[in-house]
């Protein structure tokens, strides 16, 4: 299904959406917010900010939430993918960004791609990996599926879904027992090694082989190669983060970097690859419930004071609700109004039916988007926005923390308007007169408040084709990697040590049994994207619609052939999809995507078990059964 662009504002009347003027739609939107806040206080409001919009939009969006409404309830779809990376990295290093640049992957000795089908999901990042391989680096792929990425690897470690922690622990134990850990680095730059050592001790190669399904020799080889390398990059994607214990998974990988000293040096680091064009930026701009712009902690009173004086408004001294908590708040009637910018939670959340039910309980829902998505169809007011990347000015921040200019190349269709203009019009109706003369002025305000971004003027961003944060000064550039401080000999300059994490293995929540014997894992295909709203706009010769991918053995056992429709059922829902046979899968493993939710609502199968720290759901591990459809009659 392909969507038409929204060109006029819509308001709900007698249960249906009808076209309206901008003035009417904005008045209705603002009035609903005012009414709810007056009745229930500011925390009844929740904003979902857009990880696909510009940094500038996200900055104004979180400012709207904090200043105009007076709550910290702002979050983004970051929650559904990489919040665990941010949570894990910031817990260890105090900063939630990936630590390396893409170029370093070309100049490293060992590349570990863990839970990442980058060849398909991040093809241009993978070109840097291929350069690295051609330059002589060894590459290891850790993934339940033998993906296109794994086909380029020196060694593929095909682990059972959800056994990343046992595998990482076994790698760590092997490194320690072989005496390959970096004692000097551990001593100087980390804490908690003794407890960590104890917690990995039970994970012998044999024990890990039994739980993970990876042969002991392969685990040993990865351990030795990673530890012996002069430089090594550890990269991961949603295979790590879409689990009920995702932050622990991330911490397990970071433990390996701390153990070997593969962080904080050129060519050695940790790279979570982001799924949406501006997830990194959305968080950096403060569109998350616990951080002010520049990734600054809301609980720090001095920081709050700076923002309060700059914005002329008080900031609540506590964390707001994250996306998962917002949805719970809706169910409990505590969140009664919601402003959603460019997100489609009805189709992107796990257990999608439950999500729609919750949104339906709101008193007032405003959706700002470029399409009338399933989520927008539920709104009381729909505000047609411009497409951030080609109809607006601003910046995005990519997975290597590079802030790059986005420029307007097209006029938006019909009456669609720039996100920032819409936000400012709503703010004005609620008593805040923000007159930004374009995106650059927003950016300069952000730069005045975020030391990480201070040195990044638009002029400089243009000249240098983007700058990686941190960039505190207008006339210097920092190294492309983070946390070089850990290698300083002067303890003062070395700063806070990086803590090892003590972690327990916790298998997927949705257990396999006789009724649901197969493990469904989900992911992305090369030519399609998430809920398919964007990528349905072009006729890809590669697209074949939603299918359920089975390995040849399982297909044979179930007596089903390629192309044949089968029923896939989990403890939550049931869908029908045609079979695709993929020898890259192992017996017991089934694969689907979310790209065609209008045809096959795969998220009605996934489980809403969420990571308690980051709130991300376990999209990667549902228990299902696959049945041959019995023909009627």
């Amino acid at each position: 299904m392909s969507y038409d662009r929204l060109t006029r504002p819509l308001v709900r009347e007698n249960g249906a959406l009808r076209e309206a003027t901008w003035a009417e739609a904005l008045d209705r939107a603002a009035e609903g917010f005012r009414r709810n806040v007056a009745e229930h206080g500011p925390d009844c409001f929740a904003m979902l900010s857009c990880a696909r919009s510009t940094n500038e939009m996200n900055y104004v969006g979180q400012k709207f939430t904090r200043v105009v409404i007076g709550t910290n309830n702002v979050d983004s779809c970051n929650r559904t993918c990489h919040a665990p990376s941010v949570a894990g990295l910031s817990a260890v290093f105090g900063s939630g960004g990936g630590t390396s640049s893409y170029q370093e992957v070309e100049d490293t000795d060992v590349i570990v791609m863990w839970g990442s089908a980058a060849r398909n999901a991040h093809p241009i990042f993978f070109q840097h990996v291929l350069k690295g391989i051609r330059n002589g680096a060894r590459m290891f792929a850790v993934d339940p599926r033998r993906t296109g990425t794994a086909q380029w690897a020196d060694l593929w470690l095909g682990l059972n879904v959800g056994t990343d922690i046992p595998l990482a622990h076994a790698v760590a134990r092997e490194i320690i027992h072989a005496g390959l850990h970096n004692e000097a680095f551990i001593e100087r730059a980390t804490v908690g090694f003794a407890a960590f050592k104890e917690c990995v001790e039970p994970w012998t190669l044999t024990a890990a082989e039994q739980v993970t399904g990876v042969p002991a020799a392969a685990i040993r080889e990865l351990a030795h190669a990673y530890a012996r390398a002069d430089r090594a990059q550890l990269c991961w994607t949603l295979g790590i983060t879409e689990h009920h214990n995702a932050t622990d998974n991330v911490r397990a990988l970071i433990n390996l970097a701390l153990l070997t000293g593969h962080v904080g040096r050129y060519g050695s680091g940790l790279s979570p690859l982001r799924g949406q064009n501006n997830v990194q930026g959305g968080g950096d701009m403060g569109a998350i419930p616990n951080r002010l712009p520049g990734f600054q902690d809301i609980l720090d009173p001095d920081l709050r004071a700076r923002f309060e004086s700059a914005w002329g408004a008080p900031i609540q001294p506590r964390y707001g609700l994250n996306l998962t908590q917002m949805l719970e708040g809706m169910a409990e009637g505590e969140v009664t109004t919601c402003y959603i910018v460019g997100e489609n939670p009805v189709q992107s959340e796990a257990d999608s039916l439950a999500c729609a039910k919750r949104l339906a309980m709101l008193d007032h829902l405003v959706v700002q988007d470029i399409f009338l998505t399933r989520t927008a169809q539920m709104a009381d007011v729909v505000l047609p926005a411009s497409a951030a990347w080609c109809e607006a000015e601003g910046t995005f921040t990519n997975s290597e923390r590079r802030v790059q200019r986005v420029r307007k190349a097209l006029e938006p269709p019909g009456e669609a308007r720039d996100d920032i203009w819409i936000l400012c019009e709503l703010a004005r109706r609620l008593g805040h007169d923000w007159a930004y003369d374009g995106a650059e002025e927003v950016w300069d305000e952000l730069r005045s408040l975020s030391p990480q971004h201070r040195g990044m003027s638009y002029r400089r961003l243009t000249e240098l084709q983007g700058i990686q944060w941190p960039c505190p000064s207008e006339d210097a550039l920092e190294p492309p990697y983070l946390h070089g401080r850990l290698w300083e000999s002067d303890p003062e300059r070395r700063g806070a040590p990086a803590p090892f994490a003590v972690l327990e293995h916790s298998p997927p929540v949705d257990l396999l049994d006789e009724e649901y014997p197969l493990r469904l894992t989900t992911g992305r295909r090369l030519d399609s994207y998430n809920t398919g709203v964007q990528s349905s706009g072009f006729a890809s010769p590669l697209r074949r619609g939603e299918t359920v991918e089975l390995c040849p053995e399982d297909a044979q056992r179930l007596g089903v052939a390629a192309g044949e429709d089968v029923r896939i059922t989990s403890r939550r829902g049931s869908v029908v999809a045609p079979v695709f046979i993929d020898p890259a899968l192992r017996p017991g493993l089934v694969f689907m995507t979310f790209h065609f939710p209008d045809d096959v609502d795969v998220n009605s199968l996934t489980i809403e078990a969420t990571c308690p720290i980051a709130g991300t759901a376990e999209f990667k591990a549902a228990a299902v059964r696959v049945e041959k459809l019995v023909k009627a009659g």
Binding site: D109, I124, A387, E400, Q465
Partner: protein, 280 residues
């Protein structure tokens, strides 16, 4: 351990009568461009290892017996290069005549200008010299292969193969005069390994490979570069942050290229970045 490149030294090269300073490892072409000289090139691609297949870029190097392809020969300290000598100009003229007679250069940027500048007369070999003439291959909605325009520079093969994409969907079939660019068994692209990244289209110097939109608009007579704007922005899909240059005509994106000097993209894109903008 993989050694990092040491920092490069600068060397002095004499181009015509001017001394220019270029980093060690630069080509003669780099030095010529640094000196502001316009040396024609066809098979040279700034993101690819030079193949020196076409020889339209030849220059005279003092002390050398033969003419040197500027695009691939490294500049050396103290080298004296003549860019516009009689011999070099004559050689370029013949190359342009041979190519122009056998291949359709109508969409090759600057081909007409160079043909005039060097006084080349492609018509002198007669009409039957158009040896590569054939119908355009239109087998998918994204890009078209019109091999009547192919000069066999192999840039597309390098871009699809080990230099960038590593998909190896296309290669050279046949030998010598029978050499052509082809998919395996000459299958349609839709039956090949092609992943529609369009990186081959990006490097093709002649327009033999082109966006379907461009191909159709040229056929309709509506393609008009003078009315197009080019704006570089960032892709709206995954978080890698690829840079796209949007070519816009009448408020519509008609094709997407990628800046070759960008540290993220280096001129390459995937199918979504290259072709997936229909939704706006």
């Amino acid at each position: 351990m993989i050694p990092l490149q040491p920092p490069r030294r600068l060397i002095d090269v004499q181009i015509d009568d001017e001394t220019v300073r270029v980093p060690e490892g630069a080509t003669i072409l780099d030095a010529c461009r640094a000196a502001g000289k316009d040396v024609p090139t066809l098979c040279h691609g700034d993101t690819l290892t030079p193949k020196n297949a076409c020889r339209v870029c030849v220059v005279e190097v003092e002390g050398a017996r033969t003419l040197a392809p500027a695009c691939s020969r490294k500049a050396e300290a103290g080298m004296k290069v003549g860019t516009g000598s009689e011999r070099a100009r004559h050689s370029r003229k013949v190359v342009l005549e041979l190519l122009g007679s056998s291949v359709d250069l109508s969409t090759t940027p600057r081909a007409a200008e160079w043909t005039a500048e060097y006084g080349a007369d492609p018509a002198r070999f007669g009409a039957d010299a158009a040896t590569v003439e054939q119908p355009a291959k239109v087998d998918n909605d994204l890009y078209v292969r019109d091999y009547s325009k192919c000069i066999l520079c192999y840039k597309c093969v390098d871009a699809c193969g080990e230099q960038w994409q590593n998909t190896f969907a296309i290669g050279v079939a046949g030998r010598g005069f029978d050499g052509t660019i082809s998919t395996e068994f000459d299958a349609p692209l839709t039956d090949s390994a092609c992943v529609y990244c369009g990186n081959c289209v990006e490097v093709c110097p002649t327009g033999a490979l082109s966006f379907k939109t461009e191909f159709d608009m040229r056929a309709e007579g509506t393609w008009d570069e003078s009315r197009q704007s080019e704006t570089t922005t960032v892709c709206s899909y995954c978080g890698v942050g690829c840079n796209l240059t949007l070519h816009v005509q009448d408020n519509k994106i008609v094709k997407v290229t990628s800046p070759h000097d960008n540290p993220v993209t280096k001129g390459n894109l995937c199918v979504k970045g290259r072709f997936g903008y229909g939704y706006v």
